[in-house]
């Protein structure tokens, strides 16, 4: 991509795209998250100071890598003067030599080939998503270190105070260091499970941005963009992993409907009421291509199944044309891999569309009887909808009321209120 001429725009874009790469390499060599992040931040500050007067360098990514490396060497030298232990001196000299050997040019266009720099980014992804870290810590660390999102941005996206988020990051980095979490791509026997964990973190980031819980809309959109960007990085780095392709496909196939999901007032528009002309066709096509590539590898997993479901929705020109039978079948397959009540609820909705509301209600009521998802608003909303379609108005009203009690999001509340008024009249 040609570097933009406006230095501020150039630095902004570069930070998002390159900081993860540079940080990843410096962490490997330095063995220290904080030192690496500080050096990279300093390099970007220097870029902001010098590029406006001297112009954007020919290879901005390599420039950042070189500058960050030099900053890290400066910091090490300062630290060395303070260090007393001879042992430490020897180690830092070794680090310095290794830093000097880093080839800044390989930091750019390293995407598809298996260069050492690409390996560094994979290492960082797997370290940030290590199962020994709390899930919130994994998400925060991934966005901060690989995504280059600032601490306030992440705090706003997840509706937690900035101090809390900053502490979460500090604690996570400390645990990586003190508990001896390795900085590496897991060996083959651990890889499937660990990759699964990475995909889960990225999907969680995407859902947080896409999902309907409350929060700053701009930041939420940023989360989706970032999850998709990191999904692309992962697919570039692990092109033979069908579930990584499946996740990217899944995110694109959902994101394609983003514009049509909210009305003029920001209210939620259900899938069946969306203006399908506003769906992003190139995104859908890209998602479908990725999904087909994944399915050809013949190792089906939950991400591919969910992507296939999203693709079926995207394929239907009208809501009535949706292949609900096929969707119900895909949910059944998904339930065999992930037997969770949420998957079962989705299957129930698909069955209701394919075979009528009674059949769906039977499955939903089985969930209720098992005491599952009692505090999950979508269970009650789905049940209310089925009851409404069966003409059981008073039961429907009670279910809408329960769903309302559990929903904080304004757009969703407006929708549920509307439906409640409708069944209360009838």
């Amino acid at each position: 991509m040609p570097p933009p001429t406006d230095p501020h725009v150039a630095v902004d874009r570069l930070f998002r795209e390159e900081s993860g790469r540079v940080v990843a390499t410096l962490i490997r060599v330095l063995g220290d998250f904080d030192l690496a992040e500080e050096a990279v931040q300093e390099a970007f500050v220097t870029a902001l100071e010098t590029w406006p007067s001297r112009g954007v360098p020919h290879k901005p990514g390599a420039w950042i890598m070189t500058t960050a490396r030099n900053r890290a060497i400066d910091r090490l030298r300062r630290r060395k003067r303070l260090a007393e232990k001879a042992e430490l001196l020897g180690r830092e000299a070794a680090i310095e030599a290794e830093l000097a050997a880093v080839d800044p040019d390989s930091s750019i266009d390293a995407g598809t080939d298996v260069s050492p720099i690409a390996d560094d980014r994979l290492r960082l992804i797997f370290t940030c998503c290590h199962p020994a870290l709390a899930i919130e810590a994994r998400v925060a660390l991934t966005l901060r270190t690989l995504g280059g999102l600032s601490t306030p941005e992440i705090a706003r996206a997840f509706l937690v105070p900035e101090v809390t988020l900053a502490q979460r990051l500090v604690r996570a980095k400390r645990k990586i260091r003190d508990a001896g979490i390795p900085y590496r791509v897991p060996p083959d026997h651990d890889l499937p499970e660990r990759l699964d964990g990475v995909l889960r973190v990225l999907y969680l980031v995407f859902n947080e941005g896409y999902g309907a819980s409350s929060g700053d809309r701009l930041i939420r959109r940023e989360l989706c963009t970032e999850a998709i960007r990191l999904g692309r990085v992962l697919v570039d780095l692990m092109p033979d992993e069908p579930e990584a392709l499946g996740l990217l496909a899944l995110m694109l196939l959902h994101d394609a409907r983003r514009e049509a999901r909210t009305g003029h007032e920001g209210e939620l528009v259900l899938l069946e009421d969306q203006d399908r002309g506003r769906w992003n066709r190139p995104r859908i096509d890209e998602g479908r291509e990725l999904l087909e590539r994944a399915l050809r590898m013949r190792r089906v997993g939950p991400m591919q199944l969910q992507a296939a479901i999203a693709a079926l929705h995207d394929d239907a020109e009208t809501p009535a044309a949706t292949d609900w039978q096929e969707i119900a079948g895909l949910y059944a397959a998904l339930r065999r891999i992930e037997p969770t009540p949420i998957v079962e609820l989705n299957r129930a909705v698909a069955v209701a569309m394919a075979s009528g509301p009674e059949a769906g209600l039977l499955l939903v009521d089985a969930l209720v009887a098992a005491g599952e998802l009692e505090t999950y608003p979508y269970l009650h909303a789905a049940r209310a909808d089925l009851l409404r379609r069966l003409g059981r108005s008073s039961e429907a009203a009670a279910a809408y009321e329960r769903a309302l009690e559990l929903t904080a999001n304004e757009a969703e509340r407006t929708f549920l209120d509307g439906r409640l008024a409708e069944v209360a009249q009838g």
Partner: protein, 128 residues
């Protein structure tokens, strides 16, 4: 890095003598495995919490109470100290401890001498 692997299991396990013998044998196998790998540092089984005494000193007064620090369903029943390469290695070892199948294992890194600023970063660096 050295890790203490703490074995928490239910004490009131009503097991047949056969099962007890099988468990005992499984522990012996695990102990032999870590010894053979040369990473065994220490390991012991503890008597049940009914024999535990908790001691505190407050305002110069020694207070002793009968029982463990916290009454929980799963109690500390034994431990291994191993010299593992990193947390992934420690987790793999922990998963092989027979008690992991019915109880849980807590992995705690040992705070080594002189592990302050600087040298602590070796843990991550050395693994990379």
């Amino acid at each position: 890095m050295r890790y203490l692997l703490l074995i928490y299991t239910e004490e009131q396990l009503e097991a047949s003598p056969d099962l007890m013998a099988a468990e005992f044998e499984a522990y012996a196998r695990f102990t032999n495995e870590v010894r053979d790998r040369g990473i065994y540092e220490a390991g012991e089984a503890l008597r049940p919490t009914s024999t535990a005494t908790t001691v505190r000193v407050r305002d110069g007064q020694t207070l002793t109470t009968d029982g463990p620090f916290a009454e929980t369903k799963e109690a500390l029943g034994g431990f291994y100290m191993v010299d593992a390469t990193d947390l992934d290695d420690a987790i793999q070892l922990a998963a092989k401890i027979p008690g992991a199948k019915h109880g849980s294992i807590e992995s705690r890194p040992i705070l080594e001498d002189g592990a302050g600023e600087g040298s602590a970063s070796e843990a991550v660096g050395a693994a990379g």
